[in-house]
Structures are given as C-alpha cells and as structure tokens.
Symmetry: C2
Subunit: 337 residues, 2 copies
DNA sequence: TGGGCCTTTGGTATCGTTACCTTTGGTCAC
DNA sequence: GTGACCAAAGGTAACGATACCAAAGGCCCA
C-alpha cells in the first residue's frame, strides 16, 4: 500500500472539471460561484477525502482566523468562563481560539506570547496588566488588537476589559466593618506571581489602614493559585495563631471553601464564630452550607466583551484604545450574615 | 506615519549580511550555524522587531507543531488535568496544543474535528470513543496519529488511553453491597449526550441487575454536564420520592457534592442516614465534610500517556495501534463509611 | 603538497492556496 | 444592433519560509 499524498485543490479542480480558483471560491462563503457548481465541487471534495489546507490559505491571505489567548491556568473555572464567553462571541465569525497558559508566571507569559505571535493571530487577549518589558514590546509592535483583561492596568497596551481587584476587596472590607467586625484577616498566596491575588491583598491592606484598622492578619497559604486544601491549612493556622479573628477574606472561593470546611471540622461556627468571604463567585459558593459571601467579577462577560472589542477592532469600527470597565457584584450570603 | 510591513527573514538576512537560509538556520535548534553568526542574527532580528512567521514555515515544511485536542467542556477540572498532562508532555518537543470543545455534542465534535484537521495538526486527541460516521472517516483518513481517551471504544480508530467507565461504577456498587447496602440510587444526566455519563449509568444498571438488585432508582438531573446545583436538586427529589434509599452514586464529584450539601441542608446525616459516592476525584471531594468516596481515573496520567504515545508515534517507534488501559482507583472516604 | 573530509554558508525551487486581473457569455435598455 | 453591465469562471503570480543540492574554506594526514 502506497501512502498516497493527500489531495489538493488542484486535484479536486481537475476531477470536478473546473479551475482551482473556482474550487477555492466554493470553499468560501460569499463568493460568486453558482450554487450548482459549488455543490458539485463540495461533493467531489468529500468523495476524494479532500481536507482544506489552512496553512496554505493562512500564508497567501495573511489571515489565520486565530485569536490568541493567555490565561494563568487552564484549571480555573473563572478563566474558563472568560474563554468560554470569548469563544462564543468569536465563533460566528469563524475565529478560533489559540490558547496558552502561563502558570501565573510572567516569564512564562513572555515565552508564550512570542510563541503565539509567531502563529500570526488576528488579535491577542492576555490576562492581567503586568508583563515583562520584552513581552510588552512584542505586544505593542504586533500590529494586532491587544486586549488586557481581569485588571485595570496603569498603562494599558491596547484595549482593556477589567475591574479593580483592590477596589472589589475594599467593598468586602467595608461590608464586614459595617457589621461591626474589625478584626479581619486575609488569606492569600505567599508570592507575587499571581498579580491579581497580590492586588487583592494590597486592596485589603489599603482598605484596613484607611479605616485605621490592623491590617497585619495576613495568612500566606502557599504558591498561587491557592487550592481548597491550602485554604483549609491557612484557616487552621489562623485559628491557632490569631483566634480572636472575627472575619476572613480569602483570595478566591476555592480557598474560602477550604477555610469553611476546616471550621466545620473543628466545630467553629460560621458565621457565628467567624465570618468568611471568598472571591470569584464559583459555583461551590452558592451550593455549600453555609453559602459563601463573595464577589462576582462576571468572568463570562469579560470574555464576551473582549470578543466584541476584537470584532469591532478588526472591522475598523474602533477609533482608539477602549477601557471596558466591569463592576463586580458584592454577594452577601450566609457565611457572613 | 506609514504602517510599514513587518520585516521578513530576507530583511534580517540583508541587514545581518548573510543569506536567508542562514537566518532560517539560526532560528532552528540543532542546525549548523556558528555560534557567532547565530547570535549576531538573533540580535539583528530582535533589533528589527522581527517575529518568526510560522505560517510560512508550516506550509513549506509541512509541519505545524500542533497537536489538536477535543474535550467536552473547557470548564471541567478532570479534562483540564488531562490537557495539562498532555501539554506538559509535549512542551519539550515544541508541540503546541490546539484546543476545541464539543459541549458534549458529537455533531459539534464533527464540525470541530474538521476545523482542527484543516490546520494540519501532527496528531489529534479526542475525548471519548463515540463519533459521527463522518467524524470517524475524517479521523481514519487524516494520516496522523489519532488517540481516543477517557473510554475503551469497541472499535478504536487508532490508539487509546482510557478505562471502562461502566467497570469503575461496578466496583463502587460492589463496595456498597459489601457493606450491606442494597437500596442504591444513581444520579446522572437525563440525556445521552455525555457518553461517559451514559456508560456509568449503564454500568450501574448492569452491576445491580447482576446482583439481583433493583436498578430502577435512577434520578435524571438535567442536561449534562450535571452541576452541583443539579446534584442538590436531584438529591432533594430522591429523598422525597424514594426515602428508603441507603446509598447513592453520582455521575461526578460535583453532583455528589451538591447532593451532600442538600443532605446537610435537610439534616440528613451522611453516611449514617445515606451514603454518597462521586466520580472523578475532584479536589472538593477530599476537602468537604464529610469527605467524598469517589473514583480516581487519573486524568493527568491520561494526558501524560497520550503525550508519550504521540511522541512515539511521530518518531515511528510504534508498530501498531496501542491500547493503554488506566486502572481507576476506588477511594473510600467518610461519605460511605 | 594534495586529496579526503567536515563545518559552515549560499542559491533555487517549492509548499497549496488566494489576490488581482482578465475573459466569457448572457441580459437589458435604448 | 450595440454598448453597458453583471455574474461566473479562469490565468498568473505571490505569500515567506525551508528542502535540497552545491560550494567554499579549513584541517588533518599521508
């Protein structure tokens, strides 16, 4: 058996009795081919087992129909929702997502951005607003729409769809203080890799200090992203080291759930003995007992809006850099009543 | 300001005073260019802001360094782990993952597979062993390694890394029966879209019938994938309709956690009043109170093994189709003691 | 000193599609 | 009858890299 070379458009054209150009048009949407010719060509192609070769099309037309996306972790419901919203918004225009993850590391992000730009995407969406200088330069010079998400960068590269992580945490602090709780702790990662997590911690400290409160109850739970288990361990330490703590804000719902489960394991009543809040409005927070107070940053909307921006930018309907600000929603539930 | 055309290898070559071929070699790893020449070329390229153009390279070399992957949902920790294991195993060889999701729909899978094959990946990894006839044909004729995962298909297309979903559930049934629990229910989706979920339900029915037990306690919780909330609703219905049920097996840990939370909300003791088991060994099952009995199918290993198979296949070290069988681990925890 | 061999570099054609321009044949109004 | 116009199809060159082959120069040993 000879491993025959796969058929090309020229083969389809020859057998269908038309020119390669006509075959090419038959595979496009709105091109001028008579319906009879088109269906005959498509049938021939199917019979031959012809598969359209995007690599050639990409090179000649200088279009790839890729949108590059970087997220910190592939295993995170929030970012998955953003990618989902993005993918749905782009699907109709035939744009496909080229996804890479940075593992919360801006050096890895730099490598990834270079890899992705080599594939000549039509646009690129990155998570966060902090990048290495070289990554920044590559994005600026890429000549394609750049969208930073999940953050409000001081100096945006292009467009932005995000919110203030610090500001969102401040609102949660205000909520607790409004209930008369002043001995508040923060559970987060112990490194600055997760820049959004770092911003949330900074927001906590700033908010506490602005109210004249002690902002030193900071529990570092490990290398970001903080897992449920690490949230539980952090809560164990908190209960041991500063047992008079009245409320705790966690860097995500996952660590908050871990903290909650540790309380249950030790017979500490939530919220009677201690209030707990998370971040991200993961499904678990609305299902567990008691339900978790949290902040919903509308991850899916972030993706959907980024998709809209991309489509507008590609159609030239965008005059300049756009900042699309999300207003996170404070969700007060049973864990902090 | 004129939007200059981005520089090409020819531009870099001219400025660096070498031929385009030498520039091309400088960007490859193991090619024969003197170290001095290479670094001079790379510096020139960086100065010019040159970005390597994969689209041209792909066409000429007939290699894309893509591995296509289809998963049912981007927002699922199990599949995310598989993709993570796969990506890590492929990273060293410079292979990049081209990911698409099917939304648990084999018609959508067919469209997706066609899209992905047009990009000329080096290999393709699909989730599950059931496909439309056309999808099957496209995979068979693709001429690249095909790997089906998370399943043991009757008629594999190429290689397989998977396990018997039905067999895994049977072991959980045996566990319950061994404890003297015979009135066992199953909570799953109400459609056949999720073929692995369907297999698990079928495995439950077969196992119960083989033991002469009533296999009719089937709670359909909605369109797959079943969420935590739907798991909770299903448990509510179960407690109302067949309150003498002694144990319940859920199609995933997520629905199992929902079921558990519903019990807590109603004061039903787990496992004293009812035992609960899940599937997938999601982190939540090891953190919640009580911890959840479950089945660990080693999702990350599935991806890692698929990566190994791909590398072996691409190097021609694989003689024929390989079935790599995973043995899921039964984890008995507090929810079924 | 010369031939063999290796390292490093260069020239040319080409991957498979599509942008751009041209051609063909038909319809329609005057 | 003729020119304007349009739909449908074809011809040619090009996108930017690299496979393949060739050649230049250096080194070693007989």
């Amino acid at each position: 058996m000879t491993p025959r070379k796969p058929p090309t458009m020229a083969d389809v054209a020859r057998i269908a009795g038309v020119s390669p150009m006509t075959v090419s048009r038959a595979f496009k949407r709105d091109s001028s081919v008579s319906e009879a010719t088109r269906s005959a060509i498509l049938r021939t192609a199917e019979d031959l087992g012809y598969v359209f070769d995007s690599t050639a099309s990409n090179l000649r037309s200088q279009k790839t129909d890729f949108v590059a996306v970087t997220i910190p972790s592939i295993n995170n419901a929030n970012f998955a929702d953003t990618v989902g919203g993005l993918a749905d918004g782009l699907k109709d225009r035939g744009l496909q997502i080229l996804l890479g993850y940075t593992n919360y590391d801006i050096l890895e992000e730099e490598r990834l951005i270079e890899q992705l730009l080599r594939r000549r995407p039509e646009a690129i969406v990155v998570t966060g607003g902090r990048h290495t200088p070289r990554a920044r330069r590559m994005l600026e010079n890429s000549g394609i729409p750049v969208i930073e998400t999940w953050d409000l960068p001081d100096k945006p590269i292009g467009h932005v769809v995000g919110f203030s992580n610090a500001g969102a945490v401040r609102r949660m602090v205000d909520h607790f203080v409004g209930q008369g709780l002043t001995r508040i702790a923060f559970i987060g990662g112990d490194a600055d890799r997760d820049t959004r997590g770092t911003d949330r911690r900074a927001g906590f400290i700033a908010a506490m200090q602005a109210l004249g409160l002690d902002a030193s109850r900071l529990i570092a739970a490990g290398v970001p992203p903080i897992s449920m288990r690490e949230g539980a361990e952090a809560m164990a330490r908190l209960l041991r080291d500063v047992p008079d703590t009245q409320a705790v804000i966690c860097v995500s719902d996952l660590s908050a759930f871990g903290a909650l489960s540790e309380c249950q394991r030790r017979g500490v009543a939530v919220p009677a003995d201690i209030s707990i809040a998370g971040f991200g409005d993961y499904e678990i927070g609305s299902v567990c007992v008691p339900t978790l107070s949290t902040i919903n940053p509308f991850p899916r909307d972030i993706g959907a809006r980024a998709a809209t921006l991309i489509l507008e930018a590609l159609e030239g309907r965008l005059s300049g850099p756009t900042i699309s600000q999300i207003t996170p929603e404070l969700l007060i539930r049973d864990s902090s009543k």
